[in-house]
């Protein structure tokens, strides 16, 4: 047999790094490629597929998760940057018995989703604003501003705006 022109390397040239973080209250540890995005880490390494990947360059907001209590784009963060961080994804939002969070309930009741692809990102973004110690502007303009970093291509936003307002009423948030 003729020798191969290019021999197969012994190992991948992709540098690896050990990453530890808390996801939805549980400690996880994985050895991953340094170029692995947090979105891919959550979906492919941990298997939590509720975090969706849309545009993968920070425009659509579908991949929004909470990083140390603040919303962030998981597609614009390397997994290694979240080493030691506390991550929350959409899977942590409903109760253990499956009871919906008021924001989820409002989205359901107001028909604020059709295909549902953008919904996890929407809800994580809204949740982070509800949990922060800030005054919410619950006028239409204010809610649209709050949602401006999340794109939906189905419902045209009217019902999403309604749902955010209803969720605020349900949670007593002003």
């Amino acid at each position: 047999m003729k020798p191969r022109k290019h021999s197969i390397p012994q190992s991948s040239a992709d540098p690896k790094v050990m990453v530890r973080m808390t996801i939805n209250g549980e400690e996880v540890e994985r050895e991953v490629s340094v170029r692995m995005l947090l979105s891919d880490f959550i979906r492919h390494e941990i298997g939590l597929t509720g975090t969706h990947v849309g545009c993968e360059h920070g425009i659509c907001g579908a991949c929004t998760v909470m990083i140390d209590g603040r919303s962030g784009r998981s597609c614009l963060t390397f997994a290694v940057q979240a080493d030691g961080a506390d991550i929350r994804t959409i899977e942590s939002v409903a109760g253990e018995d499956g009871e919906l969070h008021p924001i989820q309930q409002a989205f359901q009741e107001c028909h604020a989703l059709q295909c549902g692809y953008c919904t996890p990102g929407m809800i994580m973004n809204v949740l982070s604003h509800f949990e922060a110690e800030e005054d919410l502007d619950l006028t239409d303009t204010g809610i649209r501003e709050l949602l401006s970093g999340n794109l939906c291509r189905c419902t045209g936003y009217a019902n999403i705006v309604k749902a955010v307002r209803q969720a605020a009423e349900l949670t007593g948030r002003t």
Partner: protein, 288 residues
């Protein structure tokens, strides 16, 4: 839509970070990553190494000293936006910050990162220029301060050397009682500006303008001071006519060619109107 291969360093001190940068000419600095990571995902940027600042101690602090706001390299946009002491010292910053992308991006992106990225339409470089601020660079040869006017060279190009790290930005507070305004026009909220204008005016007790600082971004290859507008408005009492005349003199500052967002002629029209609006709004800012 995934980044290409790169080596990774996470130094724990500024000295180590500089060493990592010096040893690899293709290295880039990773702070918040909100401009760099999308560029890498799209493979517009393919650094050979990322030098991640997350473990470097002392870069996450904001200190106000002698009227200057010193913003460390890892301070996020959102930290500055919500910082009341910063707002008291320089209310123009919060005004401009509203236009910087969206909250989830501001939660991660850093002020110094935005300055170093130096997009010609970005808000923070304009704020640094109009306030007369500077950045502090540290390299193998020590530290140096670079004034904003000397720092920004061209779209996404600064005078930072490849082996230098900008350890902090120095943004002066506004003079007591100064009027200020930030006006921007973009197609969608959070987009880069088609044009934006920042204004600071200092006025005497009779309302006469003693000094004015006016700048714009999005209209050329870097943020620019509109010195003709500054000269035209200085010495006036900012009547509607004074403002209109001063605003007219801004149109020669548009050097951006026609692009997919706007023609040069449209940008001129936009700039004149944004300057007029910003001056009118600064005129009404209470001199507290």
């Amino acid at each position: 839509m995934k980044p290409s291969l790169f080596e990774y360093s996470a130094p724990s001190s500024v000295a180590e970070a500089i060493e990592a940068l010096s040893g690899d000419p293709g290295a880039m600095i990773l702070a918040g990553g909100q401009s760099l990571v999308p560029a890498m995902n799209l493979r517009l940027a393919s650094p050979t190494r990322l030098v991640d600042l997350r473990n470097v101690s002392g870069l996450g602090e904001t200190v106000i000293e002698d009227g200057i706001i010193r913003v460390g390299a890892m301070v996020r946009h959102r930290d500055i936006e919500l910082n009341d002491a910063v707002h008291q010292a320089n209310p123009l910053i919060r005004e401009a910050m509203k236009y910087v992308a969206h909250v989830p991006i501001r939660n991660r992106g850093t002020v110094v990162g935005s300055l170093c990225h130096a997009d010609a339409a970005a808000e923070m470089p304009l704020v640094l220029l109009v306030t007369g601020g500077s950045v502090t660079a540290e390299g193998p040869g020590g530290r140096r301060d670079i004034a904003a006017a000397d720092f920004f060279q061209f779209h996404m190009t600064t005078t930072r050397a490849a082996d230098e790290l900008i350890v902090h930005a120095n943004i002066p507070g506004l003079p007591k009682g100064a009027g200020y305004a930030f006006e921007e026009f973009s197609r969608r909220h959070g987009d880069y500006a088609i044009a934006a204008v920042a204004v600071i005016v200092q006025r005497g007790s009779d309302g006469t303008v003693d000094a004015a600082s006016v700048g714009a971004c999005g209209v050329g290859s870097k943020p620019v001071r509109l010195s003709a507008v500054e000269e035209a408005i200085t010495g006036t009492k900012m009547s509607a006519d004074d403002i209109k005349t001063a605003a007219q003199s801004s149109q020669d500052y548009v050097s951006a060619p026609d692009d997919m967002h706007a023609t040069t002629a449209y940008r001129r029209h936009l700039l004149v109107n944004l300057v007029r609006r910003a001056l009118s709004s600064a005129e009404q800012t209470p001199a507290s």
